[in-house]
């Protein structure tokens, strides 16, 4: 009886909680930027004109510089990454700060402005921020002192600890209290315990791991080599690599968009002096590769709109000024082209 009551009580609590969540979700008005596409414009080195544009595919409206519009001050940094977690949008500037905004109205909530060098990405775990940072350059432009910066609380503040990791950490992925680090330069996955703020495990992998992504229920790491790309599925429980799938795609830049049907869109570039860019499509399910889904030059970032099933490809236009975004259907036909900010490099589809 007692137990039954206890169970019922739990059921009631859960029910109330569920309703209240539901109510809250339903009542809270959708913010201006809670739908549509956020376009990340990195900005130009030495100009610090990184900014976010908002595109509403329903109306075709493109809003410029929404950080400045909503906060009456420029972003003033090179925008490296946008991370939407814990109802907050983290804008990571590799010039040395993280700005935190409300994703609905883009109003500033907080920031991490001191003690960072070249932040790359961010993840949240145990109510803390974990920020991957290349660390300072040394005299020969190497970064031997890379770290993950830890900030208590989700709204910014001061860096309380720097956890030393392998050189040039890129993307982060949080699973419970564990934060996975893609250690790009030395080919390592490092796992940090968010509570003890220490590296608890290091896994050596092939190539340069740059990006975590989820495909169905699996978590993968995208890793690039000069002449091939690899996808490593992770066993999160045992903290190990489950399976590796490699494809002959040369010169991948590390930019990736996750499409439907286990299809991945990868930006490749031969670089100087031939300078031929392309988008390669890899199907993880049936192991097929199309290395020139589209070709050109100036390709910089890529995104995939899951709801409209459209591919967004950016062109940096040589960083001379505004860049371009071209929207394609899955079959490669062009839907739209628009001028966006400088150095467009990625998207958040809301």
């Amino acid at each position: 009886m007692k137990n039954l009551f206890k169970n019922q009580l739990w059921a009631i609590v859960l029910l109330v909680f569920a309703f209240s969540c539901n109510d809250n979700g339903g009542d809270e008005p959708l913010g201006k930027y809670d739908s549509g596409v956020l376009i990340m414009n990195e900005g130009n080195f030495g100009t610090n004109d990184g900014e976010v544009y908002h595109y509403d595919p329903a109306t075709g409206t493109l809003t410029h510089d929404i950080f400045e519009l909503e906060n009456s001050r420029p972003f003033a940094g090179l925008l490296e990454d946008m991370v939407l977690e814990q109802d907050r949008l983290y804008l990571v500037a590799n010039t040395g700060k993280v700005e935190i905004v409300n994703p609905g109205d883009f109003k500033s909530i907080g920031a991490v402005i001191n003690d960072l060098d070249q932040p790359r990405s961010l993840a949240t775990a145990s109510s803390k921020l974990f920020i991957s940072d290349y660390g300072p350059y040394n005299a020969s432009y190497a970064t031997p002192d890379s770290y993950i910066a830890v900030v208590s609380g989700l709204d910014g503040g001061t860096v309380k600890k720097k956890i030393e990791v392998s050189n040039k950490p890129e993307d982060l992925f949080a699973n419970g209290k564990f934060v996975w680090v893609a250690g790009s330069e030395e080919g390592k996955l490092e796992i940090i315990d968010a509570d003890t703020e220490t590296v608890t495990k290091t896994i050596d992998v092939e190539g340069k791991p740059v990006q975590f992504f989820q495909l169905g229920s699996e978590v993968w790491v995208y890793s690039v080599d000069p002449d091939k790309v690899s996808f490593l599925s992770l066993n999160l429980a045992s903290q190990s690599v489950k399976e590796i799938k490699s494809f002959d795609v040369a010169n991948a830049t590390g930019r990736i968009a996750i499409g439907e049907d286990n299809k991945l869109y990868l930006v490749t570039s031969s670089g100087w002096p031939d300078y031929q860019d392309a988008v390669a499509v890899v199907s993880i399910a049936d192991n097929t590769v199309d290395t020139d889904w589209t070709t050109g030059s100036g390709f910089y970032g890529i995104g995939y709109d899951q709801t409209k099933q459209e591919i967004y490809l950016t062109n940096s236009a040589g960083f001379q000024g505004n860049g371009l975004v071209t929207v394609f259907k899955k079959d490669g036909t062009e839907v739209k082209e628009m001028e966006v900010g400088r150095g467009p490099s990625g998207f958040v589809f809301r």
Partner: protein, 614 residues
């Protein structure tokens, strides 16, 4: 007619500038004054140079000329833009020696202190035939002035100012009728710890700049000997060193350090004939730049000779050749380069009021030959009354720029297949001169220019590489006016200048061309000064219009206007020693502004100068 080549006293830089106090210049008028018919040329007179003696050429041009100067902060990189072109499209000469860096193809005007030079002339428009490489948007001519027969002269000048400014200069000169020597030493320290609103931080707090300290020292030595009544040797040497903390762009926390050290030396031999002068010129420019720990060094050696002569009453000619040997030891490459050029100029005076000039140059370097570069111009004084003159000027010229050493050889990315940049410029100008109690000089110039094969560095993946990609069409209107009058015991002077400059980028979006980045369409400056019994007052202002920070429909920065004011007293004496005093307030209204995006500039500052003339 007497050839304007006599040893001691030839008047003036520009024949039409009678209202401006004319100064004696030595030896002979440079090509700029003799073969630049129809071109817009302005002089910054010695009064202006004196007022800016504790500041840089960049500050002076920004505030006193139609040139737009892209300033990266206080005491930081300052690069000139003539008629909507880039810094690399400006040839800069010091005593006839081209001093732009051969690796960068440009100069930093903030490390060319005004106290190192005695005269500054600006020439606008493409004049490749007359001045050679890089004279696309215009050229800057700096020089020393040589005096003879003045005995001993000495000067000690100390300026102190806001934001930790200490500027000291000492000069001593001695000249007899045969020999002339002038030595000047200067040192400038500026902490540049000015306050500014940091737009990159939440709440945009007022912060102090803590990484923009500049220290600059220099030594200039000028020498001249009159070997005989028919020959003269002149030599000049300039050592300049600047150590700078590079002011970071707002939002960045970089702590870059830059050291620039230059040695420039030139020796001229002149041989005067009855109606001719022969000049042999040799020179050396060595630039050493250390950015953080990377060392970049270039050396240039010049050997040139030309012959100036008059034929009959109405024809003047000049013919010459120059060889340039360049060695670059940069952080990523070591290369040598040679340049050979031949040039001819002719000036024909058809009557008292109408004259023409024709200029021609052939230029060769290992990458290419620029075979035939013409320029033509005319001055027509169509009204010549006792108190008024109206002059029509028209010219047509071409310009070119050889790809720089970095453009060709930088590793990785350098592109050895680059073509020279080229331009064509046409202009027409009206000059109106009025003498009398209320005198003025006004000029209005319309120009049209096209620059093609403009070299831009573009990213090819992670490597940046230059390409001949940009094509630009420029046109504009330049007004400059000066007026002077007397009111009781007060002498008044008013100067006004306005420039409209359109520079359309035909590359990015040819169907809807936009103005080039950082090229304001509108620019103006003005100056009002009054003098009364040794007291001087002046109020000046400069305006820079809106400008985009990138190509396409990129962000546009707001226009700004800055006011400066000054007070001078020149009658303080003790025996024969004079102690001119001056006090200046820069950015009088404490305007928060940036010339380039997110590059903070100082607010109101004060400078007090005491000079002792011995």
């Amino acid at each position: 007619m007497i050839l304007l080549l006599l040893v001691f006293s030839v008047l003036g830089f520009e024949p039409m500038q009678d209202t401006v106090s004319l100064e004696q210049v030595e030896v002979y008028a440079p090509a700029l004054d003799r073969f630049a018919h129809g071109q817009k040329v302005t002089n910054l007179d010695s009064k202006v140079l004196e007022a800016y003696s504790a500041r840089s050429l960049g500050d002076m041009l920004q505030e006193k000329s139609p040139v737009f100067v892209r300033q990266y902060g206080a005491g930081m990189l300052a690069s000139p833009s003539f008629r909507g072109t880039s810094a690399g499209h400006t040839a800069i000469f010091w005593n006839g020696l081209p001093i732009n860096s051969p690796s960068l193809g440009q100069s930093d005007l903030s490390i060319l202190p005004v106290e190192a030079i005695d005269r500054v002339q600006l020439q606008f428009g493409s004049a490749g035939a007359l001045f050679g490489n890089e004279a696309i948007g215009g050229s800057i001519h700096l020089g020393s002035k040589t005096d003879f027969g003045k005995g001993f002269e000495g000067k000690l000048s100390q300026t102190i100012g806001s934001f930790g400014l200490f500027n000291t200069s000492v000069s001593g000169a001695f000249s007899s009728k045969k020999f002339s020597s002038k030595t000047r030493l200067f040192r400038r320290i500026a902490e540049n710890d000015f306050g500014y609103q940091d737009l990159s931080q939440p709440g945009t707090p007022e912060v102090r700049e803590d990484h923009a300290e500049v220290e600059q020292v220099g030594l200039v030595q000028d020498l001249a000997w009159n070997l005989s009544s028919k020959s003269q040797v002149k030599a000049a040497f300039w050592w300049n060193k600047a150590e700078r903390e590079i002011q970071p762009v707002m939002g960045s926390n970089t702590t870059d350090l830059q050291s620039d050290e230059s040695i420039r030396a030139v020796v001229d031999y002149f041989r005067f004939g009855k109606k001719s002068v022969w000049n042999l010129k040799t020179g050396l420019v060595r630039d050493k730049m250390i950015f953080n720990e990377s060392l970049n060094q270039t050396r240039q050696f010049f050997l040139a000779s030309d012959w100036d002569f008059e034929a009959g009453e109405n024809w003047k000619f000049k013919a010459g050749a120059r060889a340039t040997f360049v060695k670059g030891d940069l952080s990523t490459y070591s290369e040598t380069d040679q340049r050979f050029e031949f040039y001819q100029s002719a000036a024909w005076k058809t009557s008292e009021d109408l004259s023409f000039s024709f200029n021609l140059r052939q230029f060769a370097y290992p990458g290419d030959v620029v075979p035939f570069l013409p320029g033509i111009g005319a001055d027509w004084r169509f009204l010549n009354k006792e108190k008024q003159e109206l002059l029509l000027k028209a010219s047509l010229g071409k310009g070119f720029k050889v790809p720089t050493l970095n453009d060709r050889f930088w590793s990785p990315g350098g592109n050895p297949d680059l073509l020279p940049e080229e331009s064509i410029n046409g202009e027409i100008g009206l000059h109106w001169l009025k003498k009398g109690n209320f005198s003025w000089e006004q000029s209005l110039t319309y120009y049209r220019m096209e620059v093609d094969n403009w070299i831009i560095w573009l990213p090819q993946g992670s490597v940046w590489s230059p390409e001949n990609i940009r094509k630009v069409q420029n046109q504009g209107l330049e007004f400059q006016g000066n007026a002077g009058w007397k009111l009781g015991s007060w002498d008044w002077e008013l100067g006004l200048s306005y420039t409209f400059s359109e520079a359309l980028d035909l590359t990015t979006e040819p169907s809807n061309p936009q103005q080039l980045p950082y090229t304001p369409e509108h620019q103006a400056n003005g100056n009002l000064s009054a003098e009364f019994k040794g007291f001087g007052l002046n109020l000046s202002s400069f305006f820079v219009g809106p400008r985009a920070i990138g190509t396409g429909n990129a962000r546009v920065m707001d226009a700004f206007q800055i006011w400066n004011a000054g007070l001078t007293f020149s009658k303080l004496t003790w025996g024969k020693v004079q102690f001119p005093l001056s006090f200046q307030v820069l950015n009088l209204l404490d305007k928060d502004y940036q010339v380039l995006y997110l590059r903070a500039m100082p607010g109101r500052s004060y400078q007090l100068n005491l000079t002792i003339h011995l």
